[in-house]
């Protein structure tokens, strides 16, 4: 670079030479093309699954990657009657919704205690929470299975609800604590002087101020549990209360005939995550980045 004085001068004064401008444009165009290809690969599932779900098997065989010519709603009907996506979705909701509610309540109480009270071992408790966040659940799959088995909660939704609650608690407490730290102590003191008790201060002062954090937490946890697979597979083994991801994974869809049904089932299972993706994108981003960037 030092051999080209005009470039150095141009850079120092904030301008660019002609050669640089052309090179920069070229780089930008190349980067743009790579990005476009990547975006095509991440959006293609939406197109492909929709297209495959609404076309006949013969039409699919003609050109699997192309546009559908011969439309049908049969696959979607069969996804409801054969795979019972509707029942699977309800099964999932019956686990995920209670779990998300319990997690939110328990994590709120715990984060409130950890942030706004001082007591012995408070630091230790925070360290334990952080350490548990890094503990991969799969490594303790067997002993968790044994706890559930011993408590006679195997094939019981309550068993999975409690396991889900415990698995997501460390992250939830951590996330809420980081939001609660920004609640001013003066407000809490003022509320206390006005005679507000411990829970009253949480409900009327802290919760309203961390509402964005709560929304982030609820959407993230819902998304995570709706998509969860291995614990659901292991704890709810009976066909009657299988969750949606397990139900889809057990459907024998390898024959070409069932291809459209699988696509329809997958598409339907994606509806809740897609809605969250479209409407709560900012909340998800905040939740995912809050741990990393501080």
């Amino acid at each position: 670079m030092s051999g080209q004085p005009d470039e150095a001068v141009a850079r120092r004064f904030g301008g660019v030479t002609k050669a640089q401008r052309i090179r920069r444009r070229g780089v930008r165009a190349a980067v743009w093309l790579i990005f476009a290809a990547l975006a095509a690969s991440t959006l293609y599932p939406l197109f492909f699954l929709t297209a495959t779900a609404v076309r006949t098997t013969d039409d699919y065989r003609d050109s699997p990657a192309g546009l559908p010519q011969d439309l049908t709603f049969e696959n979607i009907d069969l996804a409801f009657s054969e795979v019972e996506v509707g029942r699977l979705a309800i099964n999932s909701l019956m686990v995920v919704v209670p779990a998300v509610i319990i997690i939110t309540v328990v994590a709120c109480l715990a984060a409130y205690a950890l942030v706004h009270f001082s007591f012995p071992l408070r630091r230790t408790a925070l360290v334990v929470v952080a350490a548990l966040m890094a503990l991969p659940p799969v490594a303790i799959l067997i002993p968790i299975f044994k706890v559930v088995l011993d408590a006679d909660l195997l094939n019981d939704r309550l068993g999975l609800i409690l396991v889900y609650t415990a698995l997501l608690l460390p992250f939830s407490i951590f996330l809420l604590a980081s939001f609660m730290r920004s609640v001013p102590v003066e407000l809490l003191n003022a509320a206390m002087i006005d005679g507000a008790g411990t829970l009253r201060r949480l409900w009327s002062v802290v919760i309203p101020l961390v509402r964005p954090g709560l929304l982030t937490l609820v959407t993230l946890n819902f998304l995570f549990l709706w998509n969860e697979f291995i614990f659901s597979l292991v704890i709810l083994q009976s066909e009657a209360n299988r969750t949606i991801m397990v139900g889809l994974s057990q459907f024998e869809g390898h024959g070409d005939k069932n291809l459209g049904i699988v696509a329809a089932g997958l598409l339907l299972s994606m509806i809740p995550p897609l809605l969250i993706f479209l409407f709560f994108q900012r909340d998800l981003a905040r939740g995912l980045t809050s741990g990393a960037v501080k």
Binding site: W32, L38, A39, V138, N189, P273, F277
Partner: protein
């Protein structure tokens, strides 16, 4: 963080009726009791379903247990068997191969975040699109890629129709290729999260230092290496640790729905092996030993990676 003034025992009006010493004692008791009560549900749940199982994992690792009768203590037999278990060793090797591609997992989102940060045309759309796989279940993209990568599926048929039929492969039935396909899918699924994390880190960069480096005549690459990298190091470390944990313990749903470990055992990973041993083989004690080894391996790999990243800091 001592805030004794927050806690209270009764309203201010009652305080005057108590002796000073007794009031202080009661206040101290409340200081401990109230947070403890608030924490109680979390302590019970975490203790019962995470901390106890963590200890139990080690106990079960030294037993033979079929899931029905009581676990039988067998000493270190499980671990001795692991040393001779070629399937386990192969699974571990595959996980280590996945871990070896870690630089890609970090560099790809990092580079993409830079591109988006430069406000390239359509960057908001790209940011949205890249994040889409991250909200999908691994079951969904496992089954999706199962369809797309079929021998007569859309990928091969598209390759043939644009005259690149020579590139068509049996993507999921080629012992030398399928693991690479799995790794590519894993990266595809998670890179959007990394992009978001790096983007938000880049937006909080200290611009003044970068401008100063510019004025001093540093090249773009020099600024990257000597200024930006160090500012972003905590975020890079966070992402790296996350990726290591994910790459060792979250591959199961994809393998289960995409390859079932095949062809042969060429895409067996440790978490898949653990599940197979426990729930198709009925060797739950053995599977628990695999879990314990998995934890140790993750700790070692994460520790080494951190040491490597930190070592660069010291050399500087």
């Amino acid at each position: 963080m001592a805030r004794p003034e927050i806690t209270t025992s009764g309203g201010p009006a009652l305080v005057e009726r108590r002796s000073a010493a007794r009031g202080r004692w009661r206040r101290r008791a409340a200081d401990i009791a109230i947070p403890l009560l608030l924490l109680a549900p979390a302590i019970v749940l975490l203790g019962w379903l995470m901390i106890w199982p963590l200890g139990d994992a080690i106990r079960l690792a030294f037993t033979s247990w079929d899931g029905f009768s009581a676990p039988q203590g067998i000493g270190i037999d499980n671990f001795e068997e692991l040393l001779d278990d070629s399937r386990f060793k192969e699974s571990l090797l595959h996980n280590l191969i996945i871990a070896a591609t870690l630089p890609i997992w970090v560099a790809v989102p990092y580079a993409i975040a830079w591109g988006l940060q430069a406000k390239i045309w359509g960057w908001r759309f790209f940011r949205l699109a890249f994040f889409l796989p991250a909200v999908l279940s691994p079951v969904v993209f496992g089954l999706y890629y199962g369809l797309v990568l079929k021998p007569d599926g859309p990928l091969n048929s598209a390759l043939r129709s644009i005259g690149l039929g020579g590139l068509a492969r049996e993507w999921l039935n080629d012992p030398g290729l399928t693991l690479a396909v799995v790794i590519a899918i894993l990266i595809w699924a998670i890179f959007g999260v990394g992009v978001l994390i790096f983007l938000s880190a880049l937006s909080s960069l200290d611009r003044e230092v970068i401008d100063a480096a510019h004025v001093d005549g540093a090249s773009g690459w020099q600024i990257q290496r000597h200024v930006v990298f160090w500012q972003l190091l905590p975020v890079i470390e966070f992402w790296t640790i996350l990726i290591i944990i994910v790459s060792f313990t979250s591959v199961f749903p994809l393998i289960y729905t995409l390859t079932q470990g095949g062809p042969g055992f060429s895409t067996y990973t440790v978490d898949f092996d653990l599940y197979q041993e426990a729930f198709t083989g009925g060797n739950l004690g053995y599977a628990s030993a695999i879990g314990v080894v998995l934890l140790v391996v993750i700790a070692i790999v994460a520790g080494l990676t951190m040491a490597l990243l930190r070592a660069r800091r010291r050399i500087r």
